[in-house]
Amino acid sequence: MQKPDLSVEIAGITLRNPVMTASGTFGYGEEFSEYVNLEAIGAIITKGLSLKPKAGNPTPRIVETTGGMLNAIGLQNVGIDAFVEKKVPFLRTVATPVIVNFFGNTLEEYAELAERLDLIPEVAAVEINISCPNVKHGGIVFGTDPKAAYSVVKAVREATIKPVIVKLSPNVTDIVEMAWACADAEADALSLINTLTGMAIDLDKRRPILANVTGGLSGPAVKPIALRMVWQVARAVKIPVIGIGGIMTGIDALEFMLAGATAVQVGTANFLDPGAAGRIAAEMERYLADNGIADVKEMIGALEV
């Protein structure tokens, strides 16, 4: 049998395989270049970016939990200027699509950053992190209110001609309602899930372990929740869905595709195994070959319920 075709298309970008690296877990790509062939992965999604550099939270910022981890990095990042100056030159040398994850504290910041990113040819697409409080509107989180999500996606949509991916927060009653709002605002694709808000406590010290008190839960512990949400959303919207949450193996990735994802992102797994993204793509290929499946696209939404 021929090699299975692993390529997929998301929002007009062709990926050589469906495995991307999730924002915040893969730095700016360069950090991992010793461990994984960056040209063996579908796309690199960079650390959440803001207009100005952001300090992030005090430490401790991470803690392991059963089957997962909490992080409260606080979106520390170098800001758009340093990104262009220091990170883009390396990314330019890698023949893999680069998707820039970004956020703002106001609608205007989102739009402004989208405009800036629109001008960078190395950026294949943008991914909006809407899990941020809207400082202008009393801190209501963009990502948990469909109207706010609609307006932020709309603002970004109008600011860039690049494909717009919206990354959904799982901390909501109805993920489908959020997905609809983003699709209505003409997002090109949805990615989910971001982290679930959690907490860990140091009993002896009687204090939260994270300096920020709460943090975002990721890793295999959240996979069942992510899979459920991807399945719900993929049935409800027409735009492609990118599955994220606890993916550790090619099997996991293919399960997300059965649930309706066109592609996946790998986050926490990069920490256990810096070569995870490449390995997962290889495992997917092996599974398809072993099972006589010629094209990974056959898996998308092929779940029988």
Binding site: M248, L272, P274
Partner: protein, 271 residues
């Protein structure tokens, strides 16, 4: 580098402290003192994250008799504190673990003509042995070693065998002087003439005391820090520490994993 290491030996050197030797590729013989490794404790989900450990020693052996080729090894000295280290302590010769190594920057060996002062608290001596091994080749080395009680004083013989002068202090006086090792060290520095550099590793309060002494005496000092880590390679920003210039308005965070774990004490913000 990422590689599967075979455990060559793993034995308890004092109650709750283990020394483990693992096979390594030849390149690891070039690791710098102060660099560290990240161990995937089990090829499974629990424990999830890798555990960071200092490089206690590296070397290469070739058996004269077996005819085997030279084999590089890396050693770590660890204390059992939670589920990762507990699992490690159950491993035997022949078991395997997955390693990332060497990570981080390591100590600056500095000027050979000066005296080298090593200060270790408890398990904090782990990265100092390999450092001492390199330093004694060129410099006079004194080692100040503290712990809560005598069971926390590790590997004195090993350091002495290198030709290092060793001073011991315990909080309860069960071995060496009673009191803080930093006080013993300060008395020594104050009494002595000549140039020197301090290298320290241990619990944060000890490092703060050492930094205070360095500050007061003007002796340069390098400290090796610990932090909760996920990636070990500067990507996740989980392990940061405040740099000298840090303020809320103008943040200056450094990655312990990538910019450290060793820092010149005056590059950091101490509270």
């Amino acid at each position: 580098m990422q590689f599967k290491a075979m455990i060559i030996s793993n034995h308890e050197v004092s109650p709750g402290y283990f020394r483990m030797r693992m096979s390594a590729p030849p390149e690891l013989a070039d690791a710098r003192p102060g660099q560290f490794i990240m161990v995937r404790v089990r090829d499974a989900i629990d424990p999830l994250l890798r555990r960071p450990f200092g490089i206690f020693d590296v070397g290469t052996v070739a058996s004269e008799f077996s005819g085997c080729g030279p084999q590089t090894y890396v050693e770590m000295l660890y204390k059992v504190v939670g589920k990762g280290t507990e699992t490690l302590s159950t491993y035997h010769h022949g078991d395997h673990v997955d390693l990332l190594a060497p990570l981080g920057t390591g100590f600056d060996l500095g000027d050979p003509d000066e005296e080298k002062i090593l200060v270790g608290g408890g398990i904090g001596i782990a990265p100092l042995y390999y450092l001492a091994k390199k330093l004694v080749e060129r410099s006079r080395v004194r080692f100040f070693l503290g712990g809560r009680t005598r069971d926390d004083i590790l590997c004195v013989t090993e350091f002495e065998r290198l030709g290092v002068e060793t001073y011991v202090a315990t909080d309860d006086g069960t071995l060496g002087d009673r009191g803080f090792v930093t006080d013993v060290m300060e008395r020594h520095i104050r009494g002595a003439a000549g140039k020197r550099t301090i290298y320290a590793c241990g619990p944060m309060p000890m490092l703060q005391a050492v930094a205070g002494i360095a500050e007061r005496t003007g002796v340069p000092c390098q400290v090796s820090l610990e932090a909760y880590m996920a990636c070990g390679m500067g990507a996740c920003l989980g392990c940061v520490v405040k740099g000298k210039e840090h303020s809320d308005e103008s943040p200056d965070y450094r990655c312990v994993c990538k910019d450290g774990p060793v820092f010149a004490f005056d590059q950091l913000k101490w509270v």
